[in-house]
Amino acid sequence: MAGETVTLSSLVTWLSRFRDLVTENRNYLTELDSAIGDADHGANMARGMAAVMEKVGASPATTADELFKSVGMTLVTSVGGASGPLYGTFFLRFGMTAGAVSEFDGAALSAALRAGLGGVVARGKPELGDKTMFDAMSPALEAFDASVASGGSPAAAAAAAYDAAVVGRDATTPLVARKGRASYLGERSAGHLDPGATSTAFLFQALAESLAQG
């Protein structure tokens, strides 16, 4: 059973599991981006997370701020496009808020994730219903916090966050996009899952799985 504290090494597992998920689903993400974007989201995420794990393997960090600064910078400098600055800023802010620690409780993890979300908002100015990654990320954090507030373990909170991310992701399908490339399609963007919301659901799936392992 998963404990009450989260170690740095389970967060490395989070990252590596995220890398695996976007790599395995590279074609699927690109497929989604073909329908309402420019057919590169799978390539972008796979390239970025491969670079991240290479970096993490080459120079293992001992504190969260160090680790996530490197993760964020690697994404920013290897992805490009919209997802590079968005996921990059997410991890940069995550690390800044986490600080020079190597263990987290639920509240600390929540604060770091909230800071990450704030970074996405600062960069992209998404609002709920714009059909972006924010539509999965924001409800995921609501659920995470609710679980922590009601005494749930970080693992339980992450599982709740993942469930909420999936619901948020699926709710993007009927939406008409108002941010990003998909917005150019107007009404034609409705009826398709948002690629970024889909990769964000993978982010929380990875978190849930890595914390469940302990």
């Binding site: 690109t30 073909s34 329908a35 309402i36 974007g37 420019d38 057919a39 590169d40 799978g42 390539a43 972008n44 390239r47 920013v76 400098t77 290897s78 992805v79 490009g80 496009g81 919209a82 997802s83 590079g84 600055p85 968005l86 960069r123 992209g124 996009a177 108002r178 941010k179 990003g180 490339r181 917005s183 150019y184 399609l185 107007g186 034609r188």
Partner: protein, 332 residues
């Protein structure tokens, strides 16, 4: 997927090798994927930098040289470059007079260039101004979207503002001219076929033989409307009408570009230009200069776009000024 490539992951790196070998007058930084002029920026000259996803060649690397850009950053295919590339280009190209970032309005490009400008100013003190092009009239309701895309006007802007920078205007003047040019240009594009992104391996969208996409951008995104394939004269009408509807081009000389999307041969582009020019004539618009060819492309997409720029004597003078790049050259 049928392409002249070694592997989908190496398209950009391999193409930059070719650019370097084909153009001894240019410098290529393969690590940062930047194409520079061979000579450092003249002291006192504002540097012009642009960049964007690859797959739009000759934009932007083909426009590096005298009278146009000082450096261009190449992103992966259809993916904007990263801030570190842009910051590096900014640092190297700056001669002390400051740097203008020419950014096409896409969420990714804008965010990455923003981060680059922040980094460059904070870490190196280089003065950076940015202009964001957004000339694509296909994007309606731009308040409910990421805004209009930057397309064809970017080419005309890089030429005209490049000439102004060459004359020694300061950063504020160069940036303000760039904004004027952007404000006075409008574009509209269409596709007969989808392009194929190398890493995706198949066409981004399927288009039946009797249909075309009106209002496409330059990233293989589907357009605003799918309509029946039509004769060239009708297509020209569908491209020109929303442009003229959006801005008043009467009473001024214009510069018109008929641009190919990459997979359409020149004979069709000239044919389309004829149709476009006839419509403009009938609408009382005076075409002072024109450009027909592949300048801002979308990989192997078949199709074209029209850009009309409202000019004046001064813009025409800057347009006619010498330019010496791989993709655009005259007067030198």
């Amino acid at each position: 997927m049928k392409k002249l490539i070694n592997s989908p992951d190496h398209v950009l790196a391999d193409a930059l090798v070719g650019v370097e070998l084909a153009h001894p007058e240019l410098k290529v930084d393969h690590t940062n994927r930047i194409i520079y002029r061979g000579e450092p920026t003249k002291p006192g000259k504002v540097a012009l930098i642009s960049g964007g996803g690859s797959g739009h060649e000759p934009l932007h690397g083909g426009f590096v040289g005298f009278g146009m850009l000082d450096a261009a950053c190449a992103g992966e295919v259809f993916t904007s470059p990263t801030p570190d590339q842009m910051q590096e280009a900014t640092k190297v190209a700056d001669s002390g007079a400051g740097v203008l970032h020419i950014v096409k309005n896409y969420t990714g490009d804008v965010m990455n260039f923003e981060m680059a400008a922040e980094m460059a100013e904070a870490e190196t003190g280089v003065r950076v101004e940015s202009v964001v092009t957004n000339d694509d009239v296909a994007v309606e309701d731009s308040t409910w979207t990421a805004g209009r895309r930057g397309v064809g006007v970017t080419v005309l802007l890089e030429k005209i503002v490049g000439a102004a920078a060459e004359e020694g205007r300061d950063l504020a003047a160069v940036a303000s001219l760039a904004r004027t040019v952007n404000a006075q240009g409008r574009s509209m594009g269409m596709a007969l076929t989808s392009c194929t992104v190398p890493s995706a391996g198949k066409p981004t969208f399927e288009l039946p033989d009797d249909m075309m996409e009106m209002g496409v951008g330059i990233h293989g995104e589907p357009g605003r409307h799918r309509v029946p394939l039509a004769p060239a004269a009708d297509i020209a009408q569908q491209l020109v009408e929303p442009i003229l509807h959006d801005l008043d081009f009467s009473g001024a000389p214009t510069i018109v570009m008929l641009n190919g999307m990459g997979g359409t041969p020149l004979i069709e582009l000239y044919l389309m230009y004829g149709e476009v020019a006839k419509i403009l004539q009938k609408s009382g618009i005076q075409v002072a200069r024109s450009l027909v060819g592949n300048y801002i492309t979308s990989l192997d997409m078949a199709g074209c776009s029209v850009t009309v720029l409202r000019a004046d004597d001064e813009l025409l003078r800057l347009w006619d000024a010498p330019v010496n790049t791989a993709g655009l050259r005259w007067g030198v």
